[in-house]
Each structure stands twice: as C-alpha cells, then as structure tokens.
C-alpha cells in the first residue's frame, strides 16, 4: 500500500513537472517588459476624477520593446501615465517586431486573448488581424471621445489607415528610405554624389578600380530597399502603387535593374552570402561607398559629419520623377473591441492611447529616432543637428513623391517570394516568372 501511494505520488509529480514547463508566463523573454503600477514608488498627482474611479487593469502589447530606441520613451510614458491615473494598471508585453512576434499576436487574436491596446502595423501585415473585426475604428471612438487623436495630423491618420480604407490606428512616427553615401570617399576620388544613372555608373566604376565596394547590400538577406526603389523608379509612383494581377513590363524592368547593377560590379563579391549587419559594417567602416537603407539606419552611423543621405539616383528611362521617396507611416495604436465594450476599460484604453500619441509624446519619439523621421504631429525642430541629420531633412523636404513600399499593399507571402527570388534574378533568372509567381499568390489571397 505504501509503495502504491509512493508510485502515485511520483507519477503525479512527474506529470505536474512536465505540465509546468508548458505553462504560460508573461515575463520569460529578456526583451519583454512588464510595467505595473505597484512599481511606482510615489503617486504625486491624481486627477480629481480619478479618485472616483475604481481600479482597472489594461493589457497592452507593442513592438516598442527589446533594442528598439522607442522602447525607452514608451516605458517612460507608461510610467508617467500610471502616475497620473493611479487607478489604472498597465500590464505591458512589448517585444521587438519579428515574424515570431507577429505570429504570436495573430494567435492571441484568433483565440480571443487579444490585448486591450495594440501597437501594430497598419499595412497589409495587419490584414489578417483586421479581418477578425476586433478593432474599433477612430470614427466610432470619436463619437464618444471627440478629443481622441486630436494632436495627430489628418494626413498622418490617412496614411495609417488599413488596406480596407478604415482608420483604426493612431500613429506616432513614420519612416523614409534613402541612399546613404560616405561623402569623404566621393571627395577622395573626385566624384560627385550620384544624381542620375550615368553618375552612379561612373561612381561604381571608379570605386571598383580603387578597391572600394561601391554599394553595400546583402541580396541574400535584405535586398528590400533595392527592390522597392527599382520598382518605384521603373514604374513611377502610379504604376508602383498599383497592385497588378500579372507582372507589368515596368516591374520586370525594375527588378532587372538589380541585375544591371550586379553586372556592373556594384555589389560586394559575397553579396549572395553575407548578412545585412556585415554590409552595414562595411559602409560604416568606409569600405563601402553607398548603402540604400531606412531612417533607422541613421542613428547607428558614427561619422555623422561625412555621411549624407541623398535621393535614389535613378535608372535609364525611369518613370518616377527625381526625388521620389519610399516611406510613410505604417504603424499605430489600436483599441480592441474587447476593451471598448468593457465599461471599465474603455476610458482607460482611450486615455492610454491619447497619452502615447499626444504632441508631447510624439515629439519624444521623434527626437529619439534622430529627429529626422516623419512625425504624425506638428513637431518642434531640434537644435544642433549633425550634417547627416540635416541632409536627411533636406532629402525628405525635397521629396517629389512619397510612396509606401510594396509590402504595405500585397500579401506578405507574395512579397517574401519576390524578396527570396531576387538573388536568382540578379544572376540571370526570370524577373517576369518571379513576379507572376508572387502576384498569383496575392491574387489567391484577395
């Protein structure tokens, strides 16, 4: 009998040990952050209306986590928010955005475990989650809270609307993509910064002759920027922003431009195998002359005085006007229907989003991002900007067209098919076949 009891006890312990490993904890990952009201040592000010409120806890999820420069600002705003509204507890679960994180957010929505407030993409990436009809539109919120998103510019709200044309998310800042150049290398070899394909070609040839990598890019890892600008300049803003059913000739010509550059020797010899961090280090250490990248690349450049951002030089027979830019606003704060329909959480969620998207908050996000991105509110320019930041401002101010990238319009699987196939196109594969394969996937998902 004693043995039997012992064996049952051991089996129970074994079972629970295994099941404990499957249990969900909210504070496991290093880059996840949890902020709770109890962490706040002092509550200094409390609004009079707050005293009458009963305690409420809201769950928030954002991509302002991990190493994202916005994470610090985001957490500070949460801390201030909880100080102001001491009856509201924010249970935040933020993480840097990657495919795993996107999948976990989607999984939460599919099983009814969505947060109260979500900071997420607004483009095609969000289509699946938007299709669940679990977000509240800004129009609906405005009916009850006219002051909601009042600091946000109308154009920014319009830019952050979902692909079905409905405005649901309140954005903070946007981004742009441009050609970063090591101006000192251009000066050293008496080259002008490229303004058209002819001058780009001259620069590529000269740098090649002198053992400098002309353009730092990993076609195997992050060829996205070259794909976007090649398509934009080949097809023009109108053709670029259209979502065709089969491969248009201009898109084919655009992708083939990557092969033209490769044949000119513009890319590193090992562009097919290296990763993006490595080519970034080539550029930053002056072993490469140019790199096409986004506004987030700016902050990591040490030599802020001899590096500049310029417009994409373009290609022969281009349809886009010189100075056309890829960029936009592609994320924002959503309020879920779950929070909206909960009388206790509705007000707290609205207040939280307003705290994160106020003029003051967005100014902080904008400054943290180098004060060169696109802000969703009117921002006050900062003093003492570096040469690089000034060139970025001049670049964005001189934009002749601003177009959102292709992945904001087409299905993620279709887009990634293009990205995965660009190495083959650059080595002689058919751009038309690749585009048709990707667009067929997109057609199926419509």
């Amino acid at each position: 009998m004693k043995k039997k009891a012992l064996s049952i006890l051991l089996a129970t312990v074994l079972t629970f040990t295994m099941l404990t490993g499957c249990g969900k904890t909210e504070e496991t990952a290093d880059d996840q952050t949890t902020t709770e009201a109890t962490d706040e040592a002092e509550v200094t000010e409390t609004e009079p209306e707050a005293e009458a409120q009963k305690d409420v806890t809201i769950k928030t999820v954002s991509m302002f986590g991990g190493t994202d420069p916005n994470a610090e600002v985001y957490q500070q705003i949460i801390a201030d928010f909880q100080t102001t509204y001491d009856y509201i507890t924010v249970e935040d679960n933020s993480q840097s955005s990657d495919e795993e994180w996107k999948a976990s957010v989607a999984a939460d929505f599919s099983v009814g475990n969505e947060p109260d407030v979500l900071q997420f993409f607004t483009d095609a990436t969000a289509n699946q989650i938007v299709a669940t009809d679990k977000f509240v539109s800004i129009e609906e919120i405005h009916a009850e809270y006219p002051e909601y998103a009042q600091d946000t510019m109308g154009t920014a709200l319009e830019a952050a609307k979902n692909t079905d044309g409905v405005q649901r998310a309140v954005p903070t800042t946007g981004y742009w993509e441009g050609l970063f150049c090591n101006k000192d290398l251009f000066d050293q070899y008496n080259l002008a910064l490229p303004t058209d394909f002819a001058s780009l070609k001259t620069a590529i040839e000269t740098f090649n002759e002198n053992g400098i990598v002309p353009i730092a890019v990993s076609l195997n890892n992050v060829p996205h920027y070259w794909v976007e600008f090649s398509l934009l300049y080949a097809a023009g803003p109108e053709g670029y922003e259209a979502v065709p059913e089969t491969a248009p000739a201009d898109w084919v010509r655009g992708l083939e431009f990557v092969k033209t550059l490769r044949d000119l020797g513009a890319f590193p010899v090992d562009t097919d195998t290296v990763d993006n961090e490595y080519v970034g280090s080539l550029f930053k250490s002056k072993q490469a002359a140019m790199q096409l990248d986004g506004s987030w690349f700016l902050g990591g450049i040490e030599d802020q005085e001899n590096t500049v951002v310029i417009a994409f030089p373009g290609m022969d027979d281009q349809k886009a006007e010189a100075g056309s830019i890829v960029g936009g606003i592609s994320s924002g704060f959503y309020i879920t229907r779950k929070a909206w329909e909960d009388p206790d959480k509705r007000d707290a969620a609205v207040k939280f989003v307003m705290a994160q998207t106020s003029q003051e908050a967005v100014q902080k996000y904008w400054e943290k991002g180098g004060a060169v991105g696109k802000a969703a509110v009117e921002v006050t320019p900062v003093e003492g900007m570096t040469n690089l930041a000034l060139s970025a401002l001049a670049y964005t101010n001189g934009a002749t067209a601003l177009c959102a990238p292709t992945d904001s319009r087409i299905d993620p699987e279709a887009y990634k098919t293009i990205i995965a196939g660009i190495v083959k196109v650059s080595t002689g594969g058919s751009a038309e076949d690749l585009l048709n394969e990707a667009l067929a996937i997109n057609n199926d998902r419509k």
Binding site: N127, I129, D270, K416, A420, K424
Partner: protein, 296 residues
C-alpha cells in the same frame, strides 16, 4: 516475472505517452492536414479561412528546382557523413585504442567540438570564410595572393560540409572507442601469436566484432544528415549562394518562416519524415542482408 502487477507501470508510462501525443504526434497529424490547405498564417484567423488545395503542394514538389537541390545535397551529405564522420572516427578510434599513454588527451581533443554549440562553430567558420578580412583571405593576403570568395557557388557546398562533418567526428569517435574497449585483449593476443599483423587485425577482428556499433553509427549518421540545419544556416542562410547549399531542413525553414509559406513548409516537413523512415529502413535492410550472407 519481475513485476506481478503491471498497472503501476502504466502510471509511469502514461504521462510520457500523453506528452509525446500532445507535443509530437498531434502536431504531426496537424502538419499533414496543413499540407492540404492554403494557410494564410500560422493560425487560422476568424474571417480568413484556409482554402483546401488538395495535392497542390505535393505537385509543387515535382516542379520545385530548389527542393531537388535540397534533396540532392541531403543525400550527398549522407554519403559524406558515412565516409568522413563514421569512417574517420573509426580510424581515429582504432589509432587511439592502440596507444597506451595520453589516450585521455586524444579523447578530450577529438570530442571537444561536440561541446561547442553549432551556432558558435558556424560563426567561427563564417569569420574564416569572409571575403573582406576573413582569416583565410588574410593568410592569402600575407602570401601576396588574391582573395578567394570561399562561399562562391562552386565552393560553398564544400565549405559548409567541412565544419559540419568535422564537428560530429568526435561524437562517433567516442561511441566507436567505447565499442573497441569492449573487445577483449585476449583475442588480439591470440591473433598476434598466430602472426596476424595489426592491419589485418582491424579487418578480420575489429570490424566484424564492431559491426553492431558501426551499424548504429551509420544509422545515426544518415538520419542525422537529413536533419542538418544549424551549421549551414549560420554560415550561409537561405541556402546561399543562390539556393545552392540548401538542405531539406534549411529549405523547410526558409519556406516556412522566411517566405511565410506555411503549408508548403509542412509538405517539406513530411518529405523529411518520410525520407528519414525510408532511409533508416534501407540501412536496416542492407545490414540485415549482409548478416544473412555472413551466417551462410
């Protein structure tokens, strides 16, 4: 009968079975189901139902050039593992078994790569192979030679195989050496008295007596070759360059998580499982037949 009452055993077995069922068999069945649908995401979202596409993914296997490369590379890797991992480990084991002093040092040295994570080894070799400033090209530079693109389409597969094979030699070395130590010294002494040379002893004594251990190592090696993933992925992700170094594992990962094509990724996963079962059965049959012949 060691235990008269069997039911207490069930209590210990059932949790493990439940665990296997929930985390292995159930996902596998789910994976088979997924391969017949056009998955729009990892989970089926309300409002975005998955479309039933019948055998489209299986048909695609026959027109997909990259899967052909991946299968080809996986089979090449199988052959290489048998020859260079098991074969080389066997030679090392025989040599080390024949020395009396310093055996422990060799055991440690040969086994060492096993305790280093594959990711670390991958990063190490990636740094060796770098075109700009990599160790190999620095050596060439010091000899006034032109740098080499070690991961060019012509060299990449070889360059990936070298660390993959090297890192596992120690594993088979330890297994084989343990097998060798179990062979009685009396047999070798008798062979010595009969005038059998050391070289002949390996063929006529060691190999026949080590047969079960060698069969186990070969089975582990060929099935392990189908699961090769981490090292090639770290050295050259996405089957770089140009998809030429894809193995079944790396291609499945790229399709599933790099291209978000979850359903086709599920199909490739099934191919891996089927191939694993077929190959292990083949190894079993090949060695079983040999045994019968020996018995005659």
């Amino acid at each position: 009968m060691l235990y008269k009452k069997k039911w207490p055993l069930l209590i210990f077995v059932v949790p493990g079975l439940v665990f296997l069922f929930v985390f292995l068999y159930l996902p596998f069945v789910e994976n088979i189901k997924n391969s017949f649908f056009d998955m729009t995401g990892v989970v089926e979202m309300p409002g975005s139902p998955w479309k039933f596409i019948q055998f489209d993914n299986y048909k695609k296997l026959f027109s997909d050039e990259t899967i052909a490369i991946a299968i080809g590379n996986s089979f090449r890797m199988m052959g290489l593992t048998v020859v260079f991992e098991v074969g080389f480990a066997f030679i090392l084991a025989v040599l080390v078994n024949n020395i009396r002093k310093g055996q422990q040092i060799f055991r440690t040295v040969f086994f060492f790569p096993i305790v280093i994570s594959a990711t670390a080894i991958g990063l190490l070799f990636k740094l060796f192979y770098n075109y700009n400033g990599g160790m190999l090209n620095q050596i060439l530079k010091s000899l006034s030679l032109d740098p080499v693109n070690w991961l060019s389409p012509e060299l990449a597969f070889l360059m990936i195989c070298i660390p993959t094979l090297w890192s596992y030699v120690g594993f088979y070395f330890v297994i084989l050496l343990t097998g060798l130590t179990n062979i009685s010294d009396d047999i070798y002494e008798a062979a010595d008295i009969d005038g059998c040379s050391k070289f002949k002893q390996v063929f006529y004594l060691t190999i026949p007596m080590m047969r079960p251990v060698i069969v186990t190592c070969v089975t582990l090696a060929v099935t392990g070759a189908l699961k090769v993933f981490d090292l090639p992925w770290v050295i050259a992700a996405n089957g770089a360059p140009q998809g030429l170094t894809h193995f079944l594992g790396t291609y499945m990962y790229q399709v599933t998580f790099g291209m978000n094509n979850y359903d086709y990724g599920s199909t490739i996963a099934i191919v891996i499982v089927v191939m694993g079962v077929v190959v292990s059965r083949l190894v079993h049959i090949i060695f079983r037949d040999e045994k019968k012949e020996v018995g005659r």
